[in-house]
Amino acid sequence: MGKVVRYRPHHAEHEWTASIGMIVFLGSWAMMFGALFFVYGIIRSHTRFWPPPDLPAFPLVLPAVNTMALGLSSFMLERARKLILADKVPDTMRAIAFAATLGTLFLSLQLVVWWSLYDKGLSPKTGPYASVFYAMTCFHALHVLVGLGALGWLGLRTREGRYNAARHLPIRLWTMYWHFVGVVWGIMFVVLYVL
């Protein structure tokens, strides 16, 4: 056998590999959401009255506020990524905390939307109109919840000083994820609430 060579991992290379993995994962997940939108399209095209006359229509104001909240949150996390590149650790932490707060606001308002609709008699059992609404929003909210968990974890680890300009791969990856969740929400907002 030849001599065993030890390599010191080069971080930038490793980051690139992880980013490709993340892109592949998000592409895969985009197909998952894409399938849900497909379901929505087919069901809606088969339904004569949308919304059905005896069921409440979806609100527009709160989801619009939510869209802005999630958009701003995405923007804040992008800022956090830029800040860590400049080695500004406390600022990064504040930006992450702000992004997480906006994410929490999103989920709270989403709860209000669900609750008000449920109160008006829209339960998942009241036909395909309700089914597709709850399935899509809940599945998306689940992703926001996972993202929030990640943001909390990132915030704590930033405070511990584990990230700097050279090493901040988790921030980069979760920023990609968070943008993805935001974009999916943007499409969902237009498709579900506006159209």
Binding site: Y7, G21, F38, F139
Partner: protein, 590 residues
């Protein structure tokens, strides 16, 4: 590449053999899990064949144990579970782990010259998620009312609470969802590993075709398994939370959902899935034919292009499964045209195989025999596919045993023989021991003869009008004359199952007591054969530098200088002799 440090080898039993990060160990774990479920699914197949040969008669050996309530005979309810779970188990829990889990994990890093996968932990999670899904399948058999019984396609309304009440069907759909997650994790790993971890000099056009097949498979998996995931998720919601995606008719609220919608989602995934099950085999066979014909693979780039084209086209042909759902004729004809178009790249690949072995110095080793067998059954399966792609013929043949025969020849027979080609081929590298050649050949001849006969029998009864999935086909007067043929086909099936005993004996004997394998027993150029058998934990002491493609055979200059007919992918060879043909060409041109 400084991407790949050498990690110290784990020492504890758990980190070495159970929760291992090592792609080679994970591959073997997938192999064991897959082979176990292959036997499981095969047993279910034998029960179906028994029912078609001797309807309502007690099953010998297993009957009293499995169906005590009916005196050992298969009951209609049990029959539904059996044929449903046969399909699901074979596709998701036997062929997928063997082809993609085992060969994907084993071959990709070794053949591209990497130390491990890009994300070893994700790889381990992929395995254990898969094991969880297998446990869910086993659990589904133990609950009241038994396992899934809606057919492997789990079409609603059969798969809703109306068609299959009980926990079993829900568990099965959950198992498919979980195994989908596992497949996606694996797919992310394969796609990234091939992009990032190819050894220096291992350009895309120097990749072994096995890697090409597995990589394209991984892309299909990553893109289309999530669609099935969505469908499964919505089905579970329908079954447990009372949503109305697929429920229609009297059990629906406000018009309900659309059962056909599930078929769309299922086949958007389902058609790429059949290529997911065959692309790795195409890759493996393209390589082994070249390896054992001792000739370069004919038109390597053409094969790569053909496989890529099939991968792309596979995404846009799914409608041919739904000709009978009342789709618009225009849409139907578009799908027909695209489906027939996919046979063009498939044909290119097929001709390349034939040209590869044409006038080769054939070495009829066991993996070569299995590869040739695969080419044969795949040819037959592909030709019968043309019948079914055609709408006017499909109206007659849809849902008959002809369809069953067709997709078994391609997905089952070809994947099965291809898998065994791979197992016999890489066994010396995987386990460091040789398999017995005599037993291997007995296994091959038993398998190839009876697998062809079984599925040909299905084609014939299908063409005569026998519907698939009938509990007792002979209750219909029009099918009674097919009783003899069905019984004969069943005997072929039993012989096929019996032939597998050769493999089981061979496998276990060789794993534990086979003769020690050399590093390169087949004398092959690809990277995995240039290191010890089995490879060390970190695969390559030094990441190799690749200087040529994977099929460097039959170069007279090499034969003259080195006395052998192959050059490995890393081997330098004096420039003037290699480029002799090119020099001659240049001379002629000037």
């Amino acid at each position: 590449m400084d991407l790949q440090p050498i990690h110290p080898e784990p020492t504890s039993f758990i980190s070495k053999y159970v929760f291992s990060h090592d792609h080679k160990v994970i591959a073997k774990q997938f192999l064991w899990a897959g082979l176990l479920f292959l036997a499981f699914g095969g047993t279910l197949a034998m029960l179906i064949r028994w029912q078609w040969a001797f309807p309502k008669e007690p099953v010998p050996l297993l009957g009293n144990m499995l169906f005590p309530e009916s005196g050992g005979a298969v009951t209609p309810a049990n029959y539904n579970v059996i044929f449903t779970m046969h399909g699901l188990i074979m596709i998701f829990f036997a062929i997928t782990p063997i082809l993609i889990g085992a060969f994907g994990n084993y071959c990709i890093p070794l053949m591209i010259g990497a130390r491990d996968m890009a994300f070893p932990t994700l790889n381990m999670l992929s395995l254990w998620t898969f094991i969880l899904s297998q446990l869910l399948i086993i659990a589904s058999f133990l609950v009241r009312l038994g396992s899934g019984a809606a057919g492997w396609t789990t079409y609603p309304p059969l798969s809703t609470n109306v068609g299959t009440p009980g926990m079993g069907q829900t568990l099965v759909v959950a198992a498919i969802f979980v195994t989908g997650i596992s497949t996606i994790m694996g797919g992310i790993n394969y796609v990234t590993t091939v992009i990032r971890f190819r050894a220096p000099g291992m350009t895309w056009m120097r990749l072994p075709l096995t890697v090409w097949g597995l990589w394209l498979t991984a892309i299909l998996n990553v893109l289309f398994v999530p669609v099935l995931g969505s469908a499964g998720l919505l089905l579970i919601l329908d079954r447990t939370f009372g949503t109305q995606f697929f429920v229609a008719g009297s059990s629906a609220v406000r018009g309900g959902g659309d059962p056909i919608l599930f078929q769309h989602l299922f086949w958007i995934f389902g058609h790429p899935e059949v290529y997911i099950l065959i692309l790795p085999v195409w890759g493996i066979v393209s390589d082994t034919l070249s390896f054992f014909a001792r000739k370069p693979a004919y038109w390597y780039k053409g094969s790569v292009a053909a496989m890529t084209l099939v991968t792309i086209l596979s995404a846009v042909v799914y409608g041919h499964h739904m000709y009978m759902t009342g789709m618009s004729p225009l849409l139907g004809q578009s799908f027909m045209l695209l489906t027939l178009a996919i046979s063009v790249p498939a044909m290119i690949l097929f001709v390349n195989w034939l040209m590869t072995i044409w006038r080769g110095s054939m070495r009829l080793t066991v993996p070569m025999l299995f590869s040739l067998g695969m080419v044969f059954v795949f040819g037959a399966g592909g030709l019968t596919g043309l019948y079914l792609a055609d709408i006017s013929l499909d109206l007659y043949l849809h849902d008959t045993m002809f369809v069953v025969g067709h997709f078994h020849l391609t997905m089952a027979a070809a994947s099965f023989l291809g898998s065994f080609a791979g197992i016999y081929h890489w066994f010396p590298k995987m386990f460091g021991r040789n398999m017995n050649e005599g037993l291997g050949k007995a296994h091959f001849w038993g398998s190839v003869i009876f697998i062809t006969l079984v599925f040909t029998g299905q084609l014939i009864v299908g063409y005569s009008g026998q519907q698939r999935r009938l509990y007792d086909p002979f209750q219909y007067e029009t099918l009674q004359h097919l009783r003899g043929l069905n019984r004969l086909t069943s005997f072929f099936g039993f012989c096929l199952a019996t032939s597998q005993v050769f493999f089981v004996i061979n496998f276990f004997r060789s794993v534990f007591a086979g003769t020690k394998a050399e590093a390169n027993p087949w004398q092959l150029p690809t990277l995995e054969w240039q290191i010890a058998s089995p490879p060390p934990y970190h695969n390559f002491d030094v990441i190799p530098t690749v200087v040529r493609g994977p099929h460097e055979f039959a170069n007279p200059a090499v034969k003259k200088a080195l006395g052998r007919d192959w050059l490995d992918q890393t081997e330098e060879f004096p420039e003037e002799e290699v480029s002799a043909p090119e020099a001659k060409l240049a001379e002629r041109a000037s």
